[in-house]
Symmetry: C2
Subunit: 287 residues, 2 copies
Amino acid sequence: MMDAFASNWFTETCPLFPGQRFSLQVQEVLYSGRSDHQDILVFQSKTYGRVLVLDGVIQCTERDEFAYQEMMAHLPLTSHPLPEDVLIVGGGDGGVLREVVKHPEVKRVTLCEIDKEVTRVAKLHLPWMTTAIDHDKVTVVNAEGSTFLREKQHSYDVIITDGSDPIGPAKSLFEENYYELLKQALKPGGLICQQTESPWLFPHLLRNLGTICRQIYPEVRLAVASMPTYPCGEMGYLLCSLHTKPLNEPQRVLTEVQQQEMGLRFYTPEMHKAVFTLPSFAHKVKW
Amino acid sequence: MMDAFASNWFTETCPLFPGQRFSLQVQEVLYSGRSDHQDILVFQSKTYGRVLVLDGVIQCTERDEFAYQEMMAHLPLTSHPLPEDVLIVGGGDGGVLREVVKHPEVKRVTLCEIDKEVTRVAKLHLPWMTTAIDHDKVTVVNAEGSTFLREKQHSYDVIITDGSDPIGPAKSLFEENYYELLKQALKPGGLICQQTESPWLFPHLLRNLGTICRQIYPEVRLAVASMPTYPCGEMGYLLCSLHTKPLNEPQRVLTEVQQQEMGLRFYTPEMHKAVFTLPSFAHKVKW
């Protein structure tokens, strides 16, 4: 891992996006260690605040993480008329959870994170991420997502899969069987949300996911939104629902006051509608 | 410049976005030289095709350039009911011009590029960019943009400023006087389009531009769209018009057939509407 710090720059390396590299200037390494599952690194960067890295890949930076967390949470939660029971698979850094608990409709949230070290390190070094970890509504379970889901039947209104890339600990979260498990675990009318990377990077991944999910769910849509420190500067969000209302507009429209009370900096009801509009090249891979 | 090629990686360095770096793996350097105005570099990358770099900053890659060129051309051209006379300031690589001439409404296009070396090098090494340089409709002028504009009165329906970053040769293209010159050079009902970088990077630049332009033009709008190899993975497009119709929907809606005939891979009429929707943090800097 030390090579990545040549001349005080951290450089992201991942076989998933060959030929391109993103680097951030490092002021101070705050934590570097290995859990049972992955390498965990936190550093203070020069211009992006604190940064969490898992297995060499940037997971969040203090400067732009809100864009990802808000879309992962508020796109699916506003697409459900009454999201009372929510499951987050992954998301051990607490960021998506922080956004989920902002919805008064949500009564119970389970965070199922395979690697409890991620949460421990985040609590220490990224405290603004983990503000909801000890919230009354929240139960934290340290288990592998698929194993946990196998025992769940019609339990959740919304399931958000906040895994890392489709290699490493999160690999099984991109396979067909996983989407079947999610469906079983949903209550009637429930929906799921998952990160899918950028259409610029993985057209084949998107095509496969689309084909799989359309066989399982009546409504399947892909959103794409800006996320500067992820490869190609954006992130895809896959939404699949058991209800048949359009996913590209919110079922619950957050008022200006609600948006302010929730402290939103990225998501708006207008953004919800806009991010499902994709460039032509993405449509050509069947989106 | 050679430091940028350590271990066969080209690393972009620019004081405008400190603390972050984007790198592309190099297969072969095809051209490296200095014109009267700037350093010009073309290399074959491993995963992004050929790449044009001016003064150390990536201008276009073969893999994603169409996203930028299409938005720079088709956002303003479809926002005008009959764009017969078009001026491009900058854009010496020919990419925006290639898109502009696709509109049958366009009768005359002038390309005003300060640095003729950019066009010469692009013709040699990026031939798919320069296909319209010798088109019947096109006049190429090698002059500084502001100087050229000073002699123009009510001459153009659309003026596109395709300059590089707001330092270096393109600096004057971001100053107040420039927007006055553009207004004078527009025909009644005309409009301008200019790149503005990402709202993530330059909120102060956007705030200043917005204030300046709202004093000069009745309609001013900012669009933001994906562009993987630009800093933060996106590009802002500033549109200002003398007509008062909304800029966030096309005045001329390209049909599916027209989009196919034009070979569009990014722009669609639906994208036109979506890209003017900005995240809340961008609105807070007065957009």
